[in-house]
């Protein structure tokens, strides 16, 4: 865990420490993912991409694009 102004973003095996205060959408774009292709979960609840990230948040990103 980083300092108390950071939050954690997880996607599959990857993890990023990000600054709080930005939207989830901004954070998704910042780590190079497509907001259309993921949903965000915080505290086991689906959250809107416009949600502002709070310090020490842990955000799990779930892929929504399936192949086949």
């Amino acid at each position: 865990m980083g300092d108390n102004h950071t939050a954690t973003l997880r996607y599959h095996e990857q993890e990023w420490q990000i600054h709080s205060g930005m939207t989830i959408r901004h954070a998704i774009e910042k780590v190079g993912l497509d907001p259309q292709s993921v949903l965000a979960i915080r505290e086991k609840k689906l959250v809107n991409h416009q949600t502002i990230i709070e310090p020490e948040d842990e955000i799990l990103l779930v892929n929504v694009i399936s192949g086949g």
Binding site: S37, N48, V62
Partner: protein, 294 residues
């Protein structure tokens, strides 16, 4: 849940109710099936098929599940998927799940069958699943096979068919395919107007546990590339995917696509009795015979 494509923002409770109403309207408006008919839902353990089964049960349809264990061993993919399908069925009163294990029944897993044919796994997988689904529907007396194809799946398929002007595939791409001679069951796709992210969100909000890992054979699939292209369009212009696919469905209804001049003749396979367009013996039986099974 924000849905700029529909100009809607809904809370969790209203969101799941909205998705269920949307699917109910799709079933009715496209004449997919009636509440009196028995449905066989093809479940993979993934978000779309389990979300669809949940919706159909909540809408009061007689919907049983069929899980096909493909024998994909990479990270226990098939076992994990089956466990999710079984856990779902076990936690829903009245939900009945039939499991067909390809290796146990036919002697070879999908990867082994594909290697024997010298083809990609996806090609053999599609053919084997269609065969098993139709056979299970016939033997179980089900009126319709229902699959979890969502709007993104259908729009990506339409894009591929458009790019190559695959006229045969365009004529056969439809939200509901009627039953055909020789015992080919009706097929329907009730999620065809539900975005993939809407389906995933529905599963998450409803607390449905589904397999998160992707089929290892889907890595680099053309369909994923086409979905990404459509997502780029969607980002610039929300609603593009829906208009693209809905326009196609309406064009079909209005007779834009002429019937195939030389429709493929469907006959019963001499070996197994299943419908086939491949002549006297169906592709599935030919594949098993080449493998030394029957």
């Amino acid at each position: 849940m924000a849905m700029p494509q529909h100009r809607l923002k809904l809370c969790a409770d209203h969101y799941v109710a909205w998705v269920e109403r949307r699917v109910a309207r799709t079933i009715e408006s496209l004449g997919m099936f009636t509440p009196e008919e028995r449905l066989l839902v093809a479940v993979s353990g993934g978000k779309d098929s389990l979300a669809l089964w949940e919706i159909l049960l909540r809408l009061g349809y007689q919907a049983d599940g069929l899980y096909i264990h493909l024998g994909i061993e990479h990270q226990g993919y098939s076992d994990v998927s089956q466990a999710h399908a079984q856990a779902f069925a076990a936690s829903r009163p009245g939900a009945s799940l039939q499991v067909v294990n390809v290796r146990a029944r036919y002697g070879r897993s999908i990867p082994e069958l594909a290697r024997g044919r010298g083809r990609r796994a996806c090609s053999s997988c599609g053919m084997v699943k269609r065969y098993i689904m139709n056979r299970a529907a016939r033997e179980g007396g089900y009126a319709v096979i229902v699959t979890g194809h969502n709007l993104d799946d259908e729009a990506a398929q339409l894009l591929q068919n458009n790019l190559y002007w695959a006229r045969g595939y365009l004529q056969r791409q439809a939200p509901v395919l009627p039953e055909a001679p020789a015992g080919l069951a009706r097929k329907a796709k009730p999620l065809c107007l539900v975005y993939e992210r809407e389906s995933a969100a529905y599963a998450l909000v409803r607390g449905i546990e589904y397999v998160q890992q992707e089929c290892p054979y889907s890595v680099g699939a053309t369909s994923i590339f086409h979905k990404q292209i459509l997502n780029d369009l969607e980002r610039r212009s929300p609603g593009t995917k829906l208009q693209y696919y809905l326009g196609f469905v309406r064009a079909r209804q209005d007779g834009f696509l002429a019937p195939e001049e030389q429709a493929q003749e469907i006959t019963a396979c001499e070996r197994c009795g299943q419908p086939t367009t491949a002549g006297a013996v169906c592709a599935f039986c030919r594949m098993l015979e080449a493998e030394g099974h029957s």
